[in-house]
Symmetry: C2
Subunit: 322 residues, 2 copies
């Protein structure tokens, strides 16, 4: 395929662990993909240089003439201001406060730059090229270290009054629940994110519960255990993990159900590590949702898993420029 | 004022207890107001005749030439289909199933008729003529016998995929909470609606708790006690009611906070009986919300009480025709 005649865009997904950069054509095909560690711990300036470096390398690696590139879309953790192009704060990027990321990248690359919340970008990716293709009322959950969300209304990303919408992980699902990273108690994220699940397992180890199957008896050993193993032993009735996993799914079901009764979307897309469980997640989840929503809101609802994996964010960001 | 030159519309608010009809000019001024009991218990046909009768009487009472009337907007309990003009089901209107209300009224009055969900109509009323004038991202809660809601996005009522959006009273706020009228457990409505508050007081009477201040010792006597009295004695530390009222406000705060983190609106408007408490409701409610939302989402947020009282629904319905 001759991509020199095509209009290409760069999409970047800035995470606390990795920076993903893709060069994408107008059919959503990835021409060039690059994943680099963020090294966020090295501080603000180093992280910004790292983003710039990753984009430059991706362009070089692609062998494309920069003149074919229309612009750069970047998904970053928030809160941020899409219009001003400023990241106000990013819990996983030490030192990031009021970073004018749009301006920095525009000056570096002399290209149009669009900034978006990372979860919004991922949901937009699924909306444009993945599980949600053509769906105009869509709610997406990004289930990773934390829980983010994106809301598509009438085919557009919904931002709210000052770009703060779709913080779906910070829905309170239990008023007296565990402390969340955001400072509130009983957020969905405190139950159903990887961090939430692991924190709750640590609490139970402190209380004296053990998992012979996982050889888990120290709180530190929880760090290295995969979600996959946790879910596996939980299904076998493991005392330490089964209640935690069950609650993670139940509360995720409540979070989804609430969005269904609030926004009556056509589709809910789930993304992120936990979705590797596939039907083992979807079947109990759908059951929980069905129990809690109006039958008329469930009738036409699709609850599904994203198709783009860890490329959703970068693909969505690239598509912001069309 | 010479209203004969004005373009007038009729707005109807169909409730389980009363039918309110207003004739309204394009400035949102009520030219003629009529409130009739619904007598819903007399059945489907009788209720429909009652609606027609109320509208006819209101026109006659107004002394206006029917030729000045542009159309009729009617807010009805749902679930319903705005486009088809059909009420599928209405828990408080016995016998109401698949009623083509729009068609019935169009044939009777030979006027354009618009059907809307009653809570949406009330929130639209506040958006156009009350507390939310000019606010384009607004969430409204109608706090009455049940709890309804309305969502305004970019200046328009948001309906969702099949007109099921904004069922804010049926957000699950406690997974193991009390049974709600909708069949789910732990809905906001089961805690913070008049019905929810009274049900929970009844449960506590059964458990042996008493309220000397209200002379409450039988579950049946709860029916006749006003919300106002319940809130009053609760503030005095009454054993029977204070925990119920406190939880009603806390859970309402959680419901509002969730909407703030989900939609990042500019304003949340509260309507209905419980809002007569004014600052005694607003002050603890705002405190609860602030605790649970992102600071950036709270910064520009207004949480306020509606200004139109029980006319909001009919006024909003009338305004659907502009």
């Amino acid at each position: 395929m001759d991509n020199t005649k095509k209009d290409l865009t760069i999409g970047v997904d800035l995470g606390g662990t990795n920076i993903v950069s893709v060069i994408v054509n107008s059919q959503g095909e990835i021409i060039s993909y690059l994943k680099n560690p963020t090294f966020a711990g090295r501080g603000k300036e180093a992280t910004i240089r790292r983003i710039i470096e990753t984009i430059h390398k991706n362009i070089v690696q692609s062998n494309l003439a920069p003149s074919n590139i229309r612009g750069i879309g970047i998904g970053a953790p928030g809160p941020l201001d899409v219009e001003k192009g400023v990241v106000y704060f990013a819990p996983n990027l030490p030192g990031w406060e009021d970073i004018p990321l749009k301006k920095i990248l525009e000056e570096e690359f002399n290209l149009k730059v669009v900034l978006e919340n990372d979860a919004n970008a991922a949901v937009w990716g699924e909306r444009c090229w993945g599980a949600g293709k053509g769906i105009n009322n869509l709610v997406g959950f990004t289930l990773g270290t934390g829980i983010g969300g994106g809301i598509i209304i009438e085919g557009k990303i919904y931002h709210g009054h000052n770009y703060g919408a779709a913080e779906l992980g910070h829905m309170t699902v239990n008023k007296d629940g565990p402390l969340c990273n955001c400072g509130n108690y009983g957020c969905l994220e405190a139950y159903s994110s990887a961090t939430g699940i692991k924190n709750r397992i640590r609490e139970r180890i402190k209380k004296g519960l053990r998992s012979p199957l996982l050889n888990l008896d120290k709180t530190e050993s929880v760090d290295t255990i995969s979600l996959k193993s946790i879910f596996e032993v939980a299904r076998q009735g493991d005392e330490l993990t089964s209640e935690v996993v069950e609650e993670a799914i139940t509360y995720l079901g409540i979070g989804v159900a609430n969005m269904v009764n609030i926004l009556n979307p056509e589709m809910v897309v789930l993304m992120g590590g936990i979705t590797n469980e596939g039907d083992k997640l979807l079947i109990p989840l759908r059951k929980e949702v069905k129990k809690r929503v109006f039958p008329t809101n469930y009738k036409f609802l699709k609850i599904t898993i994203g198709e783009l994996g860890d490329k959703a964010g970068a693909l969505g960001a690239a598509t912001l420029l069309w």
